[in-house]
């Protein structure tokens, strides 16, 4: 019996965003699956920073993907698709936030909800998770008190990991403005959070 030979497994590079967008534009809905899986998490995290609630953040992500994919002709490739999409996500999150405030007449700060999920036995999460949730809420409450331009800039850079150039492209501002907004946003966050984060 001949020895089994090891066949090299071809490694296929993931399709580029451009390729996926072209496939989607040509009617291939499976391309949407790839794009969605690729960017849903970062989009959710960005939206969550604005809204503080999973349900609202998912609404913003949904709205952003729909807007992006129905307006692809406006994406001219001057920035990456990720940058362009996240710009739309921040706008969608701001819209959802305003809509919620109009409905509920409550301040923008996230509600004091318990963590979004419990364990399978419906027991409250361990203390560490509660502490994380508490800190997350403090951060989100402080972010909510920043002016929208500073908050958008901060979230895109810190949460989405965009460079200064990418943030500038996304928001249509100069790098100097990105720099300035981040500087003053952080100073204000420090004042709002005092020792809660520094400890």
């Amino acid at each position: 019996m001949p020895a089994a030979s090891v066949l090299p497994i071809p490694v296929c590079a993931a399709p580029s965003d451009t390729a996926l967008l072209e496939r989607f534009a040509a009617g291939d809905r499976s391309a949407l699956d790839d794009l969605f899986r690729r960017y849903r998490t970062v989009a959710f995290r960005v939206a969550y920073r604005f809204l503080g609630r999973e349900a609202d953040a998912l609404d913003a992500v949904q709205e952003a993907f729909v807007k992006a994919l129905t307006n692809l002709e406006r994406f001219r490739g001057r920035s990456s698709f990720k940058t362009w999409l996240l710009r739309i996500v921040t706008n969608a999150a701001l819209d959802v936030g305003r809509h919620r405030r109009r409905q509920a007449h409550t301040p923008q700060a996230p509600r004091h909800d318990p963590p979004d999920r419990f364990g399978p036995a419906e027991l409250p999460p361990p203390e560490a998770e509660l502490e994380r949730a508490d800190l997350r809420e403090k951060i989100d409450t402080a972010l909510a008190r920043l002016p929208d331009p500073q908050r958008q800039t901060f979230v895109l850079h810190v949460e989405a990991g965009l460079s200064y150039r990418e943030v500038a492209d996304a928001l249509g501002i100069s790098i100097g403005t990105v720099m300035s907004r981040l500087f003053y946003a952080r100073q204000k966050l420090k004042a709002l959070l005092a020792d809660q984060v520094l400890s």
């Binding site: 992500v61 997350r136 300035s180």
Partner: protein, 286 residues
């Protein structure tokens, strides 16, 4: 030398009144200083330093300045605290990942919202989603194209063949100086009727203008601005269910344009930003 304090910071957004801190300015600022000169740096450079966004010369300038101003280290620490590099903080506040079922639900709703997939370029539905700047109303008054928002589009009922259509518009903005003589343009620039086998070729009346495309051929006709005898408006071919809104205050800014024949007394220019908000440029001749 000390760090420059922000100039008249706006409590809402204390950015520098002019974008002086772009790379060229930063380089110039460094180059003008002696190597041992601490250099005066804007405080926001500390943010870029904390985020690793400065080049070697700029980092050296910041470090020289910090050496001369040790009291500023506290400001730098604040920048580092809230920098993406502070993984210890951000890993603690990562939001919980939605469940697979939640993601599936979002995916299904996206599919439902997209509907049957149309080919690219076959048209675009306006989606009202945000509100115009109050100040944009001023732009609308002077930039005729913004009447796309203020006007209810008039449905032009199909008349009998040969009936005189409404006077139609040549261009969104028209230069004050009369263009060179040309054959009188048609009153209506309706898109070709796809249902008519022998549709007339679309006049290239807009070919000379650099306009930002807002709608497809299917969605507009061009009609003369009423009571002016000049200027053109894109008019939707169907009634909008509500006022079309374009952008939030964050998505637009108004800038003065240099005087031009199109704006003999000067005028505002709406500057587009990337994203989903459709914007209207003042048309300019190519």
């Amino acid at each position: 030398m000390t760090a420059r304090t922000p100039d008249s910071p706006d409590p809402a957004d204390p950015i520098a009144p002019t974008d002086r801190t772009d790379r060229a300015d930063r380089t110039d600022r460094i180059n003008r200083a002696e190597p041992t000169d601490p250099v005066t740096i804007p405080p926001e450079w500390l943010a870029a330093y904390a985020d690793g966004e400065l080049d070697a010369a700029e980092r050296a300038a910041v470090e020289r300045w910090l050496t001369a101003h040790p009291e500023a280290w506290a400001d730098l620490e604040v920048q580092r605290l809230f920098s993406p590099a502070n993984a210890a903080l951000w890993e603690r506040v990562v939001p919980p990942e939605p469940s697979p079922a939640a993601w599936d639900g979002v995916r299904r709703r996206i599919d439902a919202a997209l509907g049957p997939h149309p080919p690219v370029g076959s048209g675009r539905k306006w989606r009202a989603g945000s509100r115009l700047l109050g100040g944009l109303a001023l732009v609308a008054a002077t930039a005729a194209a913004v009447a796309w928002v203020a006007f209810r589009p008039v449905v032009v009922p199909p008349g009998p063949q040969g009936s005189r259509p409404a006077e139609v518009v040549r261009s969104v903005t028209e230069p004050a100086v009369a263009p060179p003589p040309r054959p009188a343009p048609p009153d209506r620039l309706a898109p070709p009727d796809r249902h008519t086998p022998a549709a007339a070729p679309r006049p290239a009346l807009l070919a000379e203008l650099g306009v930002l495309a807002l709608a497809t051929d299917d969605e507009v006709t061009l009609e003369r601005v009423p009571n002016t005898g000049r200027g053109w408006l894109p008019v939707g071919r169907g009634l909008l269910p509500e006022v079309l809104v374009l952008a939030t205050a964050d998505e637009v800014k108004l800038e003065e344009v240099a005087p031009s024949p199109a704006w003999p007394t000067g005028g505002p220019k709406v500057v587009t930003g990337p994203g989903d908000a459709p914007m209207i440029y003042a048309a300019k001749l190519r």
